[in-house]
Symmetry: C2
Subunit: 256 residues, 2 copies
């Protein structure tokens, strides 16, 4: 049997949903470009990229949230174009500039290394845009040190939040924020996630709020999120000082 004869059957069951797919695909293509200006039929989700973000922070949640019915996920930055990660090896394209986006149902602010986080928290243009967008969002969210950027924008005053484990002291000592060592923390319409990979857990929770639990569970299966890491070293509260130092050294060494 040649591959091309089976091209419609790579995913079991998709023949059954082919018609749906075709229709929906057409709708998606429309939505993908109309959405930043409010034309989407589903949730209009914007992810803010800035120089030096950590790659998984925006992409993990984008993978999950893009499966919400009729959702549009738009990468946004101060200017359109490629935005590089903390390692400078990888770039994701910002499809819209902040000047082009004035309304979002969901805003997600990713985290970054030292350089990227401090750059964003001192960028008054970005902070003003975050404050403006937040006024009308249904959900304003962050991953990793993105919560420090939200705090710098003044959105976390007097709130409980989480952040990257190594940034918890900084968050609490610098802002009027109570740090909670959880994978994600909801405070009103603001949801902050812990470091990097915690954005996946937060995004599934967010999916259940934006849609419903049944949809969120279907998305979890769609991305086969049944985590089985080969090691159990991801929780800082169980980590030795030596392992923490090694983790921070690897991060520092990988970042430009």
């Amino acid at each position: 049997m040649s591959h091309s004869t089976t091209r419609r059957n790579v995913l079991r069951g998709t023949v059954a949903t082919a018609a749906l797919a075709a229709t929906a695909a057409a709708a998606r293509t429309e939505a993908a470009y109309a959405a930043p200006h409010g034309g989407a039929t589903g949730p209009n989700i914007g992810i803010l990229l800035y120089d030096g973000y950590s790659l998984l922070d925006p992409t993990g949640p984008a993978e999950v949230l893009s499966r919400l019915p009729d959702a549009t996920v738009t990468m946004i930055a101060e200017k359109r174009g490629a935005v590089r990660t903390d390692t400078a090896d990888v770039a994701v394209v910002a499809e819209r500039s902040i000047a082009e986006v004035d309304r979002l149902d969901v805003l997600l602010v990713p985290g970054a290394g030292n350089r990227g986080t401090t750059g964003a928290m001192n960028n008054q243009v970005l902070l003003r845009w975050i404050r403006k967008i937040h006024r009308h969002t249904r959900w304003t969210t962050s991953v990793c040190t993105g919560s420090i950027v939200l705090a710098a924008a003044g959105l976390l005053d007097g709130r409980e939040a989480t952040t990257y484990w190594a940034s918890a002291d900084y968050l609490q000592s610098t802002f009027d924020v109570t740090y909670l060592p959880q994978r994600y923390v909801r405070s009103g319409k603001i949801i902050t996630a812990a470091g990097v990979s915690a954005g996946m857990d937060m995004a599934l929770y967010l999916a259940s709020l934006v849609a419903d639990e049944d949809t969120a569970r279907a998305i979890q299966l769609a991305v086969e999120y049944d985590p089985q890491p080969p090691f159990d070293s991801g929780n800082a509260s169980d980590a030795s000082p030596r392992l923490k130092q090694r983790a921070l050294q690897l991060l520092a060494a990988s970042q430009v």
Copy 2:
């Protein structure tokens, strides 16, 4: 205290490693551009992008593998430039074309929806490049339906492998491959991962092979990979037919 006065302290402990970071950062910038031609001091990791890949498949492993000491992660495609995901909403930049890359220590082939997977498995130029690179890799890896692309390139003949849960029957019925329902499967120097998010688990395992377990554990902490999904619906073997159908419908509807 103003933010800028604390700009070096967003991550606790990074002051201690600042010198290291500076040195390493310089080395990284060199490596990032020399690597595809073999100039890197650490592992030279290449991730193949093609139209319609699923965003988390390349980016989850890239986040993990980019923290390996002196590692270089390069996004590669048939041509340089932005490569769009299955939803068409997001694009990651391919920094190198396949014509520019003839040696890699690690090759990773991501998965995609029907359109992207069938497109890649029928692209003889891509398949030839995969076979050529595989001859000299230390590790050849895939995520999700990327294993179907490896199979189409003839690399999985007579081997055990895994893939996306909904593609297992297709993989086994189309190729001489024995499917194992595991998060990742190692067969010689080939490691295949299950769907989408399984690339994270595979990447940590791969990190322990490329470096060592202590380094992999430090990377797990560096990306705070202590997964706590709010639901337990990520394993297809526990899922109802209704949930599976809903998951495939959400996927089909989100893809262009």
